[in-house]
Amino acid sequence: MVKVGVMGLTGCSGCQCEILNCEDAINRLIGRVEFSYFPLAQDSNGFSDFDILFVEGSVSTELDREKLIEGRKRAKILVAVGTCSCYGGVQSQRNDEASLEEMLRAVYGEKRPEVRVFKPAPLSEVVEVDYELPGCPMDKKQFVYTVASLLNGVEPFFPKIPVCHECKLSENECLLLNGIPCQGPVSFSGCGAPCTAQGVGCQGCRGNCDFPNFEELLSIYDRLGLKGEDAVRFLKVFRGKTLPKLKERSVDEKGA
């Protein structure tokens, strides 16, 4: 039996829900895989050795940290699921704009919770992560593919190509050409571009594709009326610190 764990740190449980939404996969996994740790779905969660440990959520408290470090020690393969665990998630979008103290004051006033808290951080800042499945929430199909690959001892393959790829191949009209700010050209595909299919600009929930051209995108936004800081904040929601400092990039740096 392959031992699988699903651990939640600080997040919205959306990714764990998506795992529970994989009815087919779960049914087929029963008998091959033992969920030895999955507190959202079951009691008796032994913290034993894991063949694969999926971790959702960002590291935001001392407890998160301890659980993650312990999990890493016991896991042969550790997979970060969701944007929180891969990049820090929405909660980390203003990490660079304020100190932890300011953040706490904005939420709790002068009192402080007893637990020790940190600025929300992705797993990779604390432990080594083997694979990342970003997305808010992560994509079910990619999850199933990853599980299937790992069960077979093969690494999953996710080229970081932009969301435009999937959007165009679904024959959607380009939203940018229709005046709607969209992050498709700079975002990592794999979701099947569900948002753009509905006429909502891609919000970049899966983070950056390889060598994104933010500068050109910002100048397009500017033409569409999304200007200055607002445009940068729009890009920052899910990218947090993975959004590069924009002014310093030039076109012919490697891959640019």
Binding site: K160, E173, V186, N213
Partner: protein, 363 residues
């Protein structure tokens, strides 16, 4: 005076819908359909969905010949026996514009000349291509690429709008069979029809007058000689590397393949999916080395391949002037503009060039 030609017929416009209905009785019918602001080639269930009057679809009809995602094989891990359930079906694709027909003949050369792909051949043999005439918009430059008219290509029927009727050219025995099958809808051509047909050619050419068209004379050499031109970098600065230009192109063919095992590890699917030379990973090899490391290199490569690579491989340009890559580009980069800048043409010269393309074309 008796006037009789068997290789063309006339379809009164009023009969078009009956014609489509007739086609659909023969085999599954694919035709352009309007959805929201876009037109897409789709399988037709209801003839009234068909749009005759369109300028360009987002994706070319290529998707019905080479699907963007396809399973090449399934293999068993126990005995490594490779099998494929693929079976081409009969289909009619109706309403293809001239540029796209030329696009298909480019694909024919790519897939069938060297190491022919049986799967493509199977699909192609079972597909009937019916073209229709069109008028250009600001993005079209098929006149430069020599693909504005469907001369001597690979189609079965071609409908040219001559006012009240369609002038139907018959390009193959398969096309002829369809006409015979539905002969009550057609009439023989008369002298006036031929006159109108000739005039329609002129009318389409006229529509390109006073338009900026790229001059493709010696373009292959020019691109090689201007390989280091700053134009590439200037244009590439705006490029988002989003791959739209290649994904919508009727002649692009690049793909990546991955093996996808099932949970039990018993069978594996070999999946091929369309990719683009604009993506960095396209040229990434061991040691993290990118053969096309910069956006400029990737941007330039597309032009290089279209105008230098294809001519070397298949003796035709890889561009049919359909204008999709420019019309769909989110950064509004225009192929015409880039080529024009590369040549260093100013407005005046450009108009001259446009005149010239009327008379002689490279292919």
């Amino acid at each position: 005076m008796e006037f009789h030609i068997e290789r063309a017929k006339v379809l009164p416009k009023a009969n078009l819908w009956d014609f489509l209905e007739g086609l659909r009785r023969v085999s599954p019918l694919i035709a352009p359909v309007r959805r929201g602001g876009r037109v897409a080639f789709s399988e037709i269930n209801d003839i009234s969905d068909v749009t005759i009057d369109y300028t360009r679809t987002v994706l070319p009809p290529k998707k019905f010949l080479v699907p963007y995602r396809r399973v090449r094989f399934t293999y068993s891990t126990e005995d490594l026996s490779f099998s494929s359930t693929f079976k081409a079906r009969q289909q009619i694709i109706f309403g293809i514009h001239s540029c796209d027909l030329h696009g298909i003949s480019i694909l024919d050369s790519i897939y069938l000349k060297e190491n022919p792909d049986p799967r493509y051949l199977d699909v192609r043999k079972k597909t009937v291509l019916i073209g229709i005439s069109c008028m250009p918009d600001d993005f079209c430059f098929c006149l430069s690429t020599g693909t504005a008219f469907p001369d001597g290509a690979n189609w079965d029927l071609f409908l040219t709008d001559i006012g009240a009727d369609y002038f139907v050219s018959i390009g193959s025995p398969k096309g002829d069979e369809l006409i015979i099958e539905l002969k009550e809808l057609f009439r023989d051509i008369e002298r006036e029809d031929l006159e109108l047909y000739k005039r329609s050619t002129k009318k389409k050419k006229e529509a390109f007058r006073n338009r900026k068209l790229p001059d493709l004379e010696r373009i292959s050499q020019l691109i090689e000689l201007e390989y280091e031109s700053p134009v590439w970098e200037e244009e590439a600065r705006r490029c988002l590397s989003c791959g739209t230009c290649t994904n919508v192109c009727p002649t692009c063919f690049c793909y990546t393949s991955v093996d996808v095992p099932d949970f039990e590890g018993k069978t594996v699917k070999r999946v091929e999916f369309t990719t683009s030379c604009q993506y960095p990973y396209y040229s990434l090899v061991a040691g993290g080395h990118y053969f096309k490391p910069t956006r400029t290199a990737r941007f330039r490569h597309r032009y290089y391949h279209k105008f230098v690579g294809y001519p070397y491989q298949i003796e035709k340009f890889g561009c049919v002037g359909c204008g999709r890559c420019s019309a769909e580009c989110p950064a509004e980069i225009s192929m015409v503009e880039t080529l024009r800048r590369l040549r260093g043409e100013d407005e005046e010269e450009l108009r001259e060039a446009a005149e010239q393309t009327f008379t002689d074309r490279p292919f």
